[in-house]
Symmetry: C2
Subunit: 261 residues, 2 copies
Amino acid sequence: MQHTGATATGPGAPRAIPDATIARLPLYLRALAALAEQGLHTVSSGELADASGVNPAQLRKDLSHLGSYGTRGVGYDVATLRTRIGAQIGSTQQWSVVIVGMGNLGSALASYSGYAARGFRVAALVDASDALIGQQVRLEGNDPDVLTIQGDADLADVVRAAQPAIGIITTPAEAAQGVCDRMVAAGLTSILNFAPTVLQIPEGVVVRAVDLGQELQILAYHQQHAQIPADAVVDTDQATSGNGLPAAAEPATGSREEVLQ
Amino acid sequence: MQHTGATATGPGAPRAIPDATIARLPLYLRALAALAEQGLHTVSSGELADASGVNPAQLRKDLSHLGSYGTRGVGYDVATLRTRIGAQIGSTQQWSVVIVGMGNLGSALASYSGYAARGFRVAALVDASDALIGQQVRLEGNDPDVLTIQGDADLADVVRAAQPAIGIITTPAEAAQGVCDRMVAAGLTSILNFAPTVLQIPEGVVVRAVDLGQELQILAYHQQHAQIPADAVVDTDQATSGNGLPAAAEPATGSREEVLQ
DNA sequence: TCCTGTGAACTGGTTCACAGCA
DNA sequence: TGCTGTGAACCAGTTCACAGGA
């Protein structure tokens, strides 16, 4: 991991939130939104940690990096905490994204309805295929709720015009590096890459990669090495419902694998 | 992160590959496939590390966990290494997956054409909507290249019949926990969750989560805190092309953010 | 009493630097 | 000579455990 020159370790810079913490803030925000929707006004670290899938001590330490917004003996005020985390993460302002590659995945991401709620808007759609260029795409709840797919050749112009904060690459692997280079040249410094390839980028650009195949392979590894020595799966502290399988009905609170990290 | 009772620290168990290493093996495999395609027969740790976006020492240490398959003074044999990593990760056998939730994202994932190449096949598609149940979906290159969407009510039967190794959840957040519970009850122990919610699972089940919103928010954080003090972006060791923007044409080899952890 | 906030211990992971072999 | 393999140093992140405030 490497981020921008942002690690300003200057004398008067309290700006030092660990990367691992930052990756979890969206999780907390999501959990807080759910709690607020339930009408809750206060949460303890234990409750919020549970809802976020982390250890309570972890949660408290993470939040302590943002300042002291809890009340001892009581917990955290849901609304206040949402505001504080939101401010840190930048969800107070709206960020534009441009999506390059309007195949199955690109289209699916374009029509993702959760952008607005999280402070994002799709500003432009780009593809290289003549068959797609010029087509109009309807985006539920997006600011311009209809976007015209623009040509890959115009990518630089599109980026300069739309000034998106983030570029999303959903092209085939072969095209990804070229798209990335041109995004960077046009001034983009944050890229979300769904193409199964490693992007070479200059200093100062942040790339996050999501790869379905990689995720599946990691799960396959665990699957393969989950030796079932007659006690690994069944002999947990979970009740079994007589068919030798864990009961589904129960709350099933348990440990879980960390999210992406 | 938490995986199955697989951490068999028994006396004669050399089975101790760190999780962080496992998460990178698919990356190496991908890079090796690309190198093999280029006709390369041998790679040094430096070259492979470059192609995978990691530090050479990291790569060597990772590979050393699988055994010694390199030749000092020369490097690694591409074919051998592919085989070894493939064997570890389980890509020697084929794994079936079931996808639950055939909205935009589910459909996009279903028609992802990279499954076969990585040793996966889609065994079943499930959705709760009457409008979708019964519809046929064409899957390029999949074993049954046409699948009929099955009803959510039949999920347990579908899982028991298809015996998938991995369940993929692409339902709305509200439905995800229910689907997960029933998957687990039906015997699934590896789940890939795209729904923006934390799944509560019993011991012995491995969940990996991918959340678009979370990724965007992490990037937004970096974007917001990438103070541009007139020297953060431009004043790197990258050449500028006169327009004050980094040149796009150059190789742009540089540091990069780690892939997903 | 019950919770937060945090120093301190610990764990896991990364990088360095070099010994050792082709 | 040029590379791998790996102990040792280092660093980041997690968890513990408790002091201290509402």
